[in-house]
């Protein structure tokens, strides 16, 4: 059933043969192999580690309790200085996310409020683990739901189909399917010392087995060849067009520039189906600010980066679904230091060409003490699995049974309306 290891070995052999005598083992073979894959839909997940304060991202400015609970950190209503941007008369968007407004107006950005994991933990690490392996309350599953998703996708196994930005492969992408990771956006496609002739062959022979290290090595060879080929063809053909897409503006460092790079790669190379970013710095226990301040300063590059990603994908944006999620929300009441502590319900973001956007979905539970989870946090009225399961599988044209593969033990129920347009 699974011819993948054989194929990979053959592929490696052919590309290494090509590479002999070259400083850079550029794999043209890889390019042709990928061209055979049908132009697919893409999924990009952005995980905000540390629990972003969803109540200040999509602000319930129509709810007086919100302002009573947050005397110094509430985002002011639309129309005030540094006030929220009105979304639907009840909710407003944090002003630092203004770059996303055109996507909202274009019906390509939606939110599901009061969503999250049903598990009560307020531990960052457990909550992230559950959201990544897809089984709230159970940490035992060794792989992540994005890796299982990769296994459910048609097409050949290849390390370049899923990319994690960062020096480690996060739990969400860990598992039996090969994935690539990029520790730095700056040297993609640049040669390393192992690309020296002789050395690359010696290591290819040392790591030609089926063990975990050999697989990691083989995946690195394959994905680096793919990146190098992409970098080459971008330099050869796509450069001028890309300059236009970037509007000539140099992007600031950090997420916006990584996001723009990813957009370029995914646009260039349709075989990249899944991508993952983790961004930190959301654990705002002190002085998080309101319409401006610490949280605003974190949200701005996130919004700018998402806008750059959406724009940079160009026509591929139509085929892309971008999810922004976080392990749990934060307390409704601000704490003693102008910050918020660990909470429960949060807001999940969906951005993409086919998202039925321009709406804030979800059942709003209210913020009065009797409406809160354990009398302190926004309640979870929509299980994140019920958002992601149907939406992701439908987006990627996978059968309904896949939902249970991604999220074993998913409860019955569904989101009231589809989050994707027909």
């Amino acid at each position: 059933m699974n011819p993948a290891p054989m194929q990979r070995r053959a592929f490696l052999a052919s590309s290494l043969a090509l590479a002999s005598g070259l400083a850079l083992p550029i794999g043209r073979a890889g390019w042709f192999a990928r061209a055979a894959e049908p132009d697919g839909k893409r999924l990009i997940v952005i995980f905000l580690r540390g629990a972003v304060d969803g109540l200040n991202v999509v602000v319930p400015y129509g709810d007086d309790v919100y302002y009573n609970a947050r005397s110094s950190i509430a985002v002011q209503p639309p129309g005030r200085e540094h006030g929220a941007i009105n979304l639907d008369g009840h909710f407003g968007l944090h002003p630092a996310l203004a770059a996303l407004l055109p996507r909202w107006q274009g019906g390509q950005l939606a939110f599901v409020h009061a969503s999250g994991s049903p598990d009560p933990t307020r531990s960052h690490f457990d909550a992230q683990l559950y959201m990544e392996n897809g089984t709230p309350g159970r940490g035992a599953l060794p792989d992540g739901w994005m890796n299982r998703l990769l296994g459910a996708l048609p097409g050949p196994r290849s390390a370049g189909r899923a990319i994690a930005f960062g020096p480690q492969v996060p739990r969400i992408l860990a598992g039996s399917q090969p994935v690539a990771n990029l520790s730095s956006g700056n040297d993609i496609g640049k040669p390393l010392a192992i690309d020296r002739p002789g050395v690359s062959q010696a290591f290819a022979s040392l790591y030609d087995g089926n063990d975990a290290m050999s697989k990691a090595f083989q995946d690195s060879v394959q994905s680096r060849q793919q990146m190098q080929a992409d970098a080459e063809s971008m330099a050869a053909g796509g450069g001028a067009e890309q300059m236009a897409a970037d509007n000539g503006a140099p992007l600031p460092n950090g997420f916006p520039s990584d996001a723009a790079k990813l957009a370029r790669m995914m646009r260039q190379d349709p075989s990249i189906r899944l991508a993952f970013f983790a961004l930190g710095g959301w654990d705002t226990h002190i002085r998080q600010g309101n319409g401006e301040g610490q949280l605003a300063n974190r949200l701005r590059p996130l919004g700018d980066g998402l806008a750059a990603l959406a724009g940079g994908l160009g026509p591929a944006f139509d085929d892309s679904l971008i999810v922004v999620m976080s392990e749990f929300g934060r307390t409704v009441h601000e704490n003693g230091n102008g910050g918020t502590d660990h909470g429960h319900g949060n807001v999940l973001w969906l951005l993409g060409g086919k998202v039925a956007g321009g709406r804030v979905y979800g059942k709003w539970p209210g913020l009065r003490p009797d409406q809160l989870y354990q009398e302190r946090d926004l309640a979870v009225t929509t299980d994140f699995r019920l958002i992601l399961g149907p939406t992701v599988t439908r987006h990627l044209s996978l059968p309904d049974q896949t939902i249970a593969t991604l999220f074993p033990g998913i409860p019955a129920g569904s989101v009231s309306s589809s989050l994707l347009r027909a």
């Binding site: 390390a159 520790s183 790591y207 994905s223 003693g336």
Partner: protein, 506 residues
């Protein structure tokens, strides 16, 4: 205030006695299984209780006796430090400055708001951080107190603080030298308090802001609770996430911890408020501010704690440090780091028992682990995948190379996702293979092996010989390594050995 402080110090004296830093019971000879006293046993000891052998060191340890070598490692004061290390450290003058001195210098520099003044401040910040990180590598590389340095890395990671959070960039190094290194062979209770009192921790997990609801700052601002430190203190530092505490315990512990913070700037002269220090370095920029403390009664983990002020903090740490869940959590963490990603539960239980029996004596716990046959089992030896730090340091030790510039090593650690003092979240770096084995890591580790093995790392002058490298590896290598060695010429052999699966494991 002055009088009160003096009284408090007196009150603490009984607790102080018998809890001095580095204290450990007289060392009886270790009882090791016979397989420990072999060449493989010596290699295993050097790999797990140190950062890997230097050329021909395995044989030296075997001749000396593995048990004797370990007994000395457990009592580091008995081991003189090499001159090469003193020379390296002498070139890093900010290392010997206390957290208070570092803070004062930073504040003085910060007063000059001109461009050049701010540049000088940034320079200072960079230098302090760079020197601390360089010293971490220098010690791992050159110190003969190898187990001490391994434990410093372990416990720093356990009580992680992050260089990127505000003032912590000048304090991470002093946190290591003031709150970690002196206590890794002592009682856990002492280590716990040393970390709890350090400004790097108070700042990192926000407790310096944690105040009684309804209290006010000097500027009249209304203050309140901050749960951050209380939660991580239980979840990560002591009980563990399944340690049986509730949200109410988090809130109650936060109330207990109210008022523990940093001295106001005006107060940061010579130490004035230093309540009952159990730690060597008296001056911690630390203060207990009764006006921000919640004096109500607390119900914490089944104990009733009366509102007595600063003593509640001591009581809470007593409860946490002596808790069976803490014994189990710490034993698991140690066994996972030193023995196996999924440590044998029998070993963890035995260590936890020893923790509770000895009153949390960390040397005794380590001894229990090392004396267990489970530590020396064939399923354990050579089966831990090295973290990036362990890989880089062990490769340099095996090659006998002390880089003239640390930048390439620090850069590699950054690329591999383990920059020194660079993890933002309080859980620290993971210690298991799944966190570190990935495609990009392989490419970068092998590139490092290529540079080092080829003699091209950072103005390298030492040529790496494959005979020396063979002496730090098991006599029998994996078949694929033997095959690759046979297929390639002498120039590539050191590179292959450093990049081999055999060398990537310890």
């Amino acid at each position: 205030m002055m009088i009160k402080a003096a009284v408090l110090v007196l009150l603490m004296l009984p607790v102080l006695s018998g809890l001095r830093a580095g204290e450990s019971p007289p060392l009886a000879p270790l009882t090791l299984p016979p397989e420990a006293e072999t060449t493989m046993g010596a290699l295993h000891a050097l790999d797990r209780l140190g950062f890997g052998p230097r050329p021909y060191e395995v044989e030296q340890v075997r001749q000396m006796g593995v048990s004797r070598w370990i007994a000395r490692q457990l009592n580091p004061a008995s081991i003189p430090e090499p001159e090469a290390l003193s020379l390296q450290l002498a070139a890093l003058p900010t290392l010997t400055e206390s957290n208070v001195e570092l803070y004062r210098r930073q504040m003085m520099l910060n007063r000059d708001k001109s461009d050049s003044g701010q540049e000088a401040k940034k320079d200072f910040d960079r230098t302090v951080l760079q020197e601390a990180a360089t010293a971490r590598i220098d010690r791992a590389l050159l110190s003969d107190r190898q187990l001490q340095e391994v434990l410093v890395g372990f416990w720093f990671n356990h009580f992680n603080v992050f260089r990127g959070k505000g003032l912590d960039h000048v304090w991470v190094g002093s946190f290591e030298s003031e709150s970690i290194r002196p206590y890794v062979f002592g009682r856990f209770r002492t280590l716990l308090e040393a970390t709890a009192r350090h400004p790097a921790m108070l700042f990192y997990l926000d407790n310096w802001q944690n105040s009684a609801p309804g209290s006010h700052s000097r500027q009249g601002k209304e203050l309140g609770l901050n749960e951050n430190y209380a939660r991580e203190l239980m979840e990560l530092h002591t009980l563990g996430v399944d340690g049986g505490y509730s949200q109410q315990d988090v809130t109650e512990l936060a109330r207990i911890l109210t008022g523990w913070g940093l001295r106001d700037r005006a107060e940061r002269g010579p130490s004035r408020l230093n309540h009952g220090s159990m730690v060597q370095e008296a001056d911690y920029s630390l203060a207990f501010d009764p006006s921000r403390h919640d004096f109500g009664e607390k119900h914490f983990l089944g104990h009733v704690i009366k509102g007595e002020g600063w003593r509640e903090f001591e009581l809470a740490l007593d409860i946490l440090a002596a808790h069976p869940a803490t014994a189990h959590h710490l034993s698991f963490q140690l066994a996972q780091y030193f023995v196996a990603d999924q440590p044998d539960p029998r070993l963890v239980d035995k260590m936890a028992e020893s923790f509770l029996k000895s009153g949390g004596n960390l040397t005794v716990v380590m001894r229990t682990m090392i004396e267990s046959p489970l530590f020396w089992s064939p399923q354990v030896i050579g089966h831990k995948f090295k973290t990036p730090f362990e890989y880089a340091v062990s490769a340099l030790r095996a090659s006998n190379v002390t880089p003239a510039r640390m930048q390439p090593v620090l850069g590699l650690l950054g690329q591999l996702g383990q920059p020194i003092y660079g993890i933002e979240t309080p859980d620290g770096y993971k210690q298991v293979e799944s966190a570190w084995l990935n495609p990009d890591a392989m490419a970068r580790r092998l590139s490092f092996a290529t540079m080092l093995g080829g003699g091209r790392l950072a103005d390298q002058t030492v040529t790496v010989s494959d005979a020396a490298l063979r002496s730090v590896l098991p006599y029998t290598l994996s078949p694929q390594t033997e095959r690759a060695l046979g297929e390639n010429d002498a120039k590539l052999r050191p590179i292959i050995l450093l990049g081999s699966p055999d060398f990537m494991h310890r």
